[in-house]
Amino acid sequence: MIELRQLSKTVQMGGRPLTILHPLDLHVPRGQFLAVMGPSGSGKSTLLGLMAGLDQPSSGSVAMDGVSMTDMDEDRLARFRGDTIGFVFQSFQLIPTLTARENVQVPMEIMRRPGVVERADTLLAQVGLSERAGHYPAQLSGGEQQRVAIARAFACRPPVLLADEPTGNLDSETGSQIIDLLKRLHRDEGTTLVLVTHDPQIAEAAERSLQLMDGRIVRDTAPGAGEGVSGESGKEARAV
């Protein structure tokens, strides 16, 4: 489903090149729930951003469903994202001037999907927010906002869902509710789910987890993947 080949990212920091992500290969099969772990600055978010085509890699390629995203221009990428990828962010990123329902509607409107209002209401019901559909983000609690964001992420039935520390701004109980919700939707919709987290407990709930350190994969729980391969060889981590 997701295929990363020799993907790396280097930025200029104070005039010196700084490698955030060393070249790595990664394959995520369809329907897998993958957790990406690692301390701050280990390159988790960069990896997620590159996967989504939100950032240009310094080398290597990203392919989804066999389609290479690396050579697309910005507008094609935008359309491709709308079709293929759903996002959940740590800071929710709801549009403050839109109601909960409208926030869920937006991606479907962008992609010109039919039955926008009904689908939005169904999704809000699924995340348990039917009564709050007309509220603005500022009128919702953090957990509620994240549930709206999840409903929005699933709106276009994307085959891939990328979640960047979705519980990072929530207390642990609300956080685990959110994870349960994500898992349920992942199961019901058959979505490939890539989730970046600090929390080992959440990682344990995943089918597979990656550990990143200083821009390298140091552990991969996938069957057949050796632990710390990339960290020690300094070249690559291979996961199948």
């Binding site: 978010s45 960069t46 997620l48 951003g49 989504a52 939100l54 950032d55 910005e74 507008d75 935008a78 359309r79 491709f80 994202r81 709308g82 079709d83 996002f87 962010f89 990123q93 709801l94 549009i95 403050p96 001037t97 839109l98 409208e102 509607q105 937006v106 991606p107 409107e109 962008i110 992609m111 010109r112 500022a138 929005r152 276009c156 960047d164």
Partner: protein, 845 residues
């Protein structure tokens, strides 16, 4: 596109309308100014077009400085034979004295403008009298109509008698309205209307007097007025009379008003363009605050093109809405213009909202909004979607982007200004100069503002806490300090410069300064009256200065050839050649005269008359030393050789002459004398006029004070109207300020909350805010005042050739007033920031 763009558009408008409202008002204030003037001007033009015939009181009028000659008479006879009616009218300035048998008890002399009208006047329009009686019954051999002003000035009443020249006439009624001379402002004295026969019977109409002759023609209803007029124009193309037709001629005041409204609508455009600068800044801030949303939308699959479509449509909508409000505002505020123009207006206006003005307002307002929104909106293409993950991923920025934004706005403004100004004024010199002036002024104001802001930033930080914080507030991102300074500065400039120029010009003609200049002129003294005149003056204890001989004549030949007016291509030049000029003769140069070419002394090698011409006339008619001119003095043609060209200081308040003949030729020509004296006391001046006029009824006295009053009241009117327009620029500045306060509100609240958390009291916070606005106001006021100084200096010394005065108090007042306006506006709009509790704010976030 509509599935996403339109709902998004609606939601954005709904969510941000409070912030958008202020941007919208920038456009509203600008469009308001423009529409107000354009609608008014359109109404004025329409009314004048509708009333064109009654404003002429005839179909065709021949105007000249001499009675119709043979050529004109032949043409008129032909027209009469075809059924046209012809009525003569004369007009001249003279003195009236109160006669015997008064009931009002007043006594004195007064300069008046006499009009004698023949039977049949007016063909169109009506003469209105105070009693409502038909004026024809009132105008008799004895009876005259007078302006109410004359009754007030002389203290006489209807029924009293007046002495004019050799006649005693009776005031039959008060004249309320004269159709073809509706505006009194430009008249030297109140009107006295009488029959043409009565006017002739005063004995004041002589070949040497300054008389304006009009021959008014009323065509039969079936006649093709345009064709007849065209025929007549062709037939009289070489005649010295001017042929005015309904199509071609407009009252002078109309031409003046059209020029005035043209100028004012350019000022309106300036206000609109300033509004555009406000919009550009506002959109930039708006987009900056939307960065997260925009990045999120990009993550959700929205392309830059569609996002651009959303915000561009939003700009169109805002612009259109702002313009509509502006149109309403402009329509309402044009109501003020008739009152401001007062008696300058020749017609009663019915103020409508012409479609043309609506269209222009909507178009200009929307185009301006979109145009100025484009540069900041285009930048949304560069917002990286990865911003949702990593805040530090900002659009690429470098030092030159700081300059790029204002530069883009500047270039946008220049292009749009060029387009709009040309639309409004056409490809004319005025348009070009205005454009240049506007761009130059705005650039100067902007650079001045930026320079001061930069200088303040680099000064050592003040120790005072409020002052320091306030100063730092000026540089808060999104504050639009420079845009506010430019708009308010331009408003201040207009207001102050108009005031300063008015003061300097008025002072130049005031009676008291300069000292020792004459302030009372006597003209039309006949040669045989010089002795008597000298006696009257010496009785009053005055010495009579050497009387100046005046001979009236016209130019009939140039460079040895007979002058054919129809071959003069330049309208302006032709108009001047039609003048009846005043010639004098003397053998010396006066103070303030300087020979530029040739020599003033008599050249013995040249036979015949020798004349010195002014540099103005020489340039106008391309005359050089050695050229020959022929003048016509009451039918006698005199050839003369130009022996010198003189520069004249026209402002020296003497009798200046374009043509000075060397002695020996004109002494035998019919002539009048003029002289001037200085009498400081007003009562003495009045008494002297009375003494002269009682003894010599045909002599006319011109009091400089009276001319001063006329100019003064005229300038007052003008400056009122210009101030009215300056008000729109100020309004734009205030709206941008309000907008800037609103857009930076969240930032301010955070700052205030922080200050409060750190222990600052409300008073302290208020002082910080007040200090920021005060600094901004002082900045705008200073920039505007300095620019006004430069501007008025240029206008007074370079254009009006006058003396410019430094008036420190005026600048100080303008400066402080600006500071007060800005400080109070800023504080009032920041009240809610002040009263908010920190917790409320934190919860809102």
């Amino acid at each position: 596109m509509s599935r996403f763009v339109l709902p998004m558009l609606w939601r954005e408008a709904r969510g941000s309308w409070r912030r958008l409202l202020l941007f919208l008002l920038c456009i509203t204030a600008g469009v308001g100014g423009l529409v107000s003037v354009n609608a008014f001007s359109e109404n004025l033009r329409r009314t004048i077009r509708l009333e064109a015939r009654s404003l002429m009181a005839a179909d065709i009028v021949l105007r000249g400085t001499r009675p119709p000659g043979a050529e004109e008479k032949a043409a008129l006879a032909e027209l009469s034979a075809q059924g046209a009616q012809v009525v003569a009218s004369v007009q001249f300035v003279t003195m009236v004295r109160t006669g015997g048998g008064r009931t009002g008890g007043g006594e004195g002399v007064q300069l008046v403008s006499v009009r004698g009208v023949g039977d049949g006047y007016p063909f169109y329009g009506t003469v209105e009298t105070a009693s409502g009686r038909p004026f024809r019954e009132l105008l008799t051999e004895e009876g005259v109509l007078v302006d109410e002003a004359l009754l007030l000035k002389l203290g006489v009443e209807v029924g009293d008698s007046l002495e004019i020249g050799q006649r005693t006439l009776r005031i039959a009624d008060v004249l309320v309205k004269e159709p073809d001379s509706p505006v009194q402002v430009f008249r030297l004295g109140p009107r006295v209307m009488m029959t043409e026969a009565a006017a002739h019977s005063t004995g004041l109409i002589t070949p040497m007097s300054r008389i304006r002759y009009s021959t008014m023609i009323g065509l039969p209803p079936q006649a093709d007025a345009a064709a007849v007029a065209e025929n007549l124009v062709e037939r009289l193309k070489d005649s010295y009379v001017r042929v005015d037709t309904v199509e071609r001629a407009q009252p002078q005041v109309t031409r003046f008003l059209e020029r005035l409204t043209d100028f004012l609508s350019l000022v309106g455009l300036a206000a609109l363009l300033l509004g555009g600068i406000g919009v550009a800044g506002a959109i930039r801030v708006f987009i900056a605050q939307k960065l997260d949303t925009l990045a999120t939308l990009k993550c959700l699959g929205a392309t830059s093109t569609r996002l651009l479509a959303v915000y561009l449509l939003l700009a169109v909508l805002m612009g259109a809405l702002g313009s509509l409000l502006g149109i309403a505002f402009g329509f309402a505020s044009q109501m003020a213009l008739p009152a401001l123009l007062g008696d300058l207006l020749p017609v009663q206006l019915e103020l409508t909202l012409p479609w043309r003005s609506v269209g222009e307002g909507l178009l200009f307002g929307t185009v301006t909004t979109v145009w100025f929104s484009l540069p900041p909106l285009l930048s949304l293409r560069t917002i990286p979607p990865a911003r949702v993950f990593r805040r530090e991923v900002e659009p690429p920025s470098s030092p030159h982007t700081r300059w790029l934004a204002p530069l883009r706005v500047g270039v946008s403004m220049l292009l749009l200004a060029a387009l709009l100004v040309v639309w409004q004024a056409g490809f004319t010199h005025v348009a070009g100069w205005f454009l240049l002036g506007l761009v130059g002024t705005v650039a100067a104001l902007y650079l001045g503002a930026m320079g001061l802001l930069l200088a303040l930033k680099h000064l050592p930080k003040p120790g005072n806490f409020s002052l320091k914080q306030g100063l730092m507030g000026l540089y808060r991102p999104g504050n639009q300090s420079a845009a506010i300074t430019v708009s308010l500065g331009l408003g201040v400039l207009l207001l102050l410069a108009v005031f300063l120029v008015q003061r300097d010009l008025v002072r130049q003609i005031t009676v008291n300064a300069p000292e020792n200049q004459p302030n009372l002129f006597f003209i039309d003294i006949q040669p045989q009256q010089v002795q008597a005149f000298t006696e009257v003056l010496s009785e009053a204890g005055l010495e009579t200065p050497e009387p100046i001989p005046i001979v009236r004549g016209r130019i009939v030949g140039m460079k040895g050839e007979p002058l054919k007016l129809s071959s003069v291509e330049d309208d302006h030049q032709r108009r001047h050649l039609r003048f009846e000029y005043t010639f004098t003769y003397r053998g010396h140069l006066e103070d303030g005269e300087r020979v530029l070419e040739g020599s003033f002394g008599k050249d013995p090698n040249i036979s015949g008359a020798q004349v010195s011409v002014s540099d103005w006339f020489a340039k106008q008619s391309d005359i050089k030393v050695g050229d020959r001119l022929t003048v016509d003095i009451q039918g006698v043609r005199i050839p003369a050789t130009v022996t010198s060209i003189r520069a004249i200081e026209w402002t020296n308040r003497r009798a200046n002459f374009s043509f000075v003949f060397l002695p020996g030729v004109l002494e035998e020509a019919p002539r009048m004398y003029a002289t001037a004296v200085r009498v400081n006391d007003l009562a003495e001046r009045t008494a002297l006029q009375k003494a002269v006029v009682t003894r010599l009824p045909n002599v006319t006295a011109l009091d400089v004070q009276m001319v001063y009053n006329i100019v003064q009241s005229f300038m007052d009117r003008l400056s009122l109207v210009v101030r009215f327009m300056a008000g729109f620029c100020i309004a734009v500045g205030v709206v941008i300020l309000l907008g800037a306060v609103a857009t930076t509100k969240f930032q301010r609240i955070r700052e205030v909350v922080l200050l409060k958390t750190l222990g600052a009291t409300r008073g302290m916070v208020a002082r910080v805010l007040a200090m920021e606005y005060l600094l901004l106001g002082l900045l705008a006021g200073a920039v505007g005042a300095v620019a006004a100084g430069v501007f008025s200096w240029g206008l007074v010394t370079q254009v009006f050739d006058g003396q410019w005065d430094i008036r420190p108090m005026s600048y100080l007042i303008a400066w402080l007033a600006t500071a007060v306006v800005i400080t109070s506006t800023g504080l009032v709009s920041s009240l809610d920031i002040l009263v908010k509790k920190p917790l409320e704010v934190l919860r809102e976030e």
